[in-house]
């Protein structure tokens, strides 16, 4: 039982990061039908921002704020420079554009910063272990669970209590009619990217805090996992993305814990197999939206 509870906490921590990333993908997809594969590079750019902020002597909390600011700015720039010109184009065009953005950013990171991982000096206070009864939890894992829950709660309040949030939910349903309410298409899309950037930034900082380094390809794997999570949940569904993220985290942690050692190298293969079996029964995803109205 204790071992199981311990694994559950691990799953919450990992799944929470996937959930934040999947949510970032879903927020943008639900509104403009773009699967943003450059989402991972938003994580990476946040990692570099925090890294350099610390190197330049900023205290950790300020570095975190700087990192989040850079993440949101980068997301807004991506939208303005790369995605706005192709808005309303076919899904394939949007997808290829996002691959291009991702590839360009990776090359820039490699050439302008470094192809090798740069260590990030995370404060020692964050590397401790918290003991709750029989359970041991890394400080960073605990923070990651709390931050994830706070982000989900905050986003939920934003979407249901503010005009901008309601406009985003309405835009996901029927963008053309939202414009008939006098709300500017560009501001709604920009809000979606800013939120997606914030979510990627938070996930990026949690990721870097656990690994202690940043490299140009850092965002690739987590965003692939987030994409899988978003698909499990039903692409475009926000609650689906969260559910998919936690489910994928849970599956990975349980497999890691209970697979026989000889099979451990195949952990991801088993995880994907489980995902495939979920999709065999619910090809539209667990919490799919009924229809998707494009711009």
């Amino acid at each position: 039982m204790e071992i199981f509870l311990q694994q559950l906490l691990n799953a919450l921590s990992l799944g929470g990061t996937y959930a934040l990333l999947a949510l970032g993908l879903a927020v943008v997809f639900s509104i403009i039908g773009l699967i943003n594969f450059a989402h991972g590079e938003l994580m990476t750019v946040t990692g570099y921002a925090v890294c350099f902020a610390l190197i330049w002597g900023m205290p950790f909390p300020l570095a975190v704020i700087a990192g989040l600011g850079v993440a949101m700015t980068a997301a807004l720039l991506m939208e303005r420079v790369a995605f706005r010109p192709v808005r309303g184009a076919s899904g394939t065009t949007l997808l290829l554009t996002s691959f291009a953005v991702s590839a360009i950013l990776r090359v820039l990171f490699q050439n302008l910063i470094s192809a090798r991982p740069i260590p990030v000096s995370i404060p020692a206070s964050l590397s401790g272990v918290v003991t709750i009864g029989p359970l041991h939890l890394g400080m960073i894992q605990l923070i990651s669970i709390i931050v994830t829950l706070a982000m989900l709660l905050g986003l939920n309040l934003f979407l249901h209590r503010t005009i901008a949030g309601r406009a985003m939910r309405a835009a996901a349903e029927d963008f053309a009619v939202l414009r008939l309410m006098g709300l500017r298409a560009n501001s709604v899309v920009a809000t979606a990217f800013a939120i997606s950037g914030l979510l990627a930034g938070v996930a990026g900082i949690l990721w870097v805090a656990q690994r202690g380094s940043v490299d140009p390809l850092m965002g690739a794997l987590p965003v692939l996992k987030a994409f899988i999570a978003a698909i499990i949940g039903g692409l475009g569904s926000l609650s689906g993305a969260v559910a998919g993220g936690f489910l994928l985290g849970f599956i990975e942690v349980i497999l890691q814990a209970y697979l026989p050692e000889s099979l451990l190298p195949y952990r991801d293969a088993f995880a994907i197999l489980l995902v495939i079996s979920v999709l065999l029964f619910r090809p539209q995803g667990l919490l799919a939206r009924k229809t998707l109205v494009k711009l």
Partner: protein
């Protein structure tokens, strides 16, 4: 022509094409302040395309497209709506997963300058008691007639000068249709100007001041509602006399 004679909406040579397909082929139309003007025609005649083009949701070309002295050509939908002309789209298109109240809030979100949102909302709920009752329900759970009321209410939240209505009676029970037509007449009596697209020719001509008949993207017939009701073309094609 004195300024007060200037129509609220002037359309000259409006063309709407989707690729090679011309849905609307150079129509002229005017709507004067305080009128109900109805745009009639069969399915595919270009009625909805005309309304969508007016608010900038369909690709359009025109020699002149002027609303309340503003040139609409080149303006995006959000700007046109902020200037006081709005569209209740065909099929109602309420935001189904949002509550009735949230639909109304979004309708009035950007129009604080045009009227006090709280007062407009109170007025709306007095006009549609059923919406007041269902304020916190999801709009998707309303009946068709209630959704149509919500769609109209949501558009009225922007305190428009000109309301474009696209097939508001479509798919509704006869009693509800009567209520919708009564509502449109009330709105006109309270000073709103209305351009109404309908397939229900008989009832539209009853409440309208003037009308136009579209066929294959061109104006085939126009005149006062009484003239249209009496015309043999309308009698034969639409009223089944």
């Amino acid at each position: 022509m004195t300024p007060s004679d200037e129509p609220l909406l002037t359309i000259e040579g409006l063309t709407v094409s989707y690729g090679p397909v011309e849905a609307v082929d150079g129509i002229d139309l005017t709507v004067k302040r305080g009128e109900i003007v109805t745009l009639l025609g069969a399915n595919g005649a270009g009625k909805s395309s005309t309304l969508n083009a007016l608010v900038g949701l369909a690709p359009r070309k025109a020699n002149r497209l002027v609303f309340a002295g503003i040139d609409l050509l080149g303006l995006p939908p959000e700007t046109i709506v902020r200037r006081g002309m709005t569209l209740v789209p065909e099929g109602r298109r309420v935001f189904a997963s949002l509550t009735v109240e949230e639909n109304l809030i979004l309708g009035g979100a950007k129009h604080a300058k045009r009227g006090n949102p709280a007062a407009v909302k109170a007025d709306m709920l007095a006009r549609f008691p059923i919406l007041a009752e269902r304020l916190h329900q999801k709009a998707g759970l309303l009946s068709g007639g209630e959704q149509q009321m919500l769609a109209i209410g949501r558009a009225l939240m922007s305190s428009p000068d000109l309301l474009l209505l696209d097939e508001p009676s479509l798919g509704l029970a006869p009693q509800v249709v009567d209520a919708i037509f009564d509502l449109i007449r009330d709105l006109r009596d309270q000073g709103l100007t209305i351009l109404l697209v309908e397939q229900n020719v008989a009832q539209s001509l009853e409440i309208a001041d003037r009308g136009y008949v579209l066929a294959n993207g061109r104006i085939e017939l126009q005149g006062s509602a009484a003239e249209l009701r009496a015309s043999p073309e309308i009698q034969n094609a639409y009223l089944g006399a």
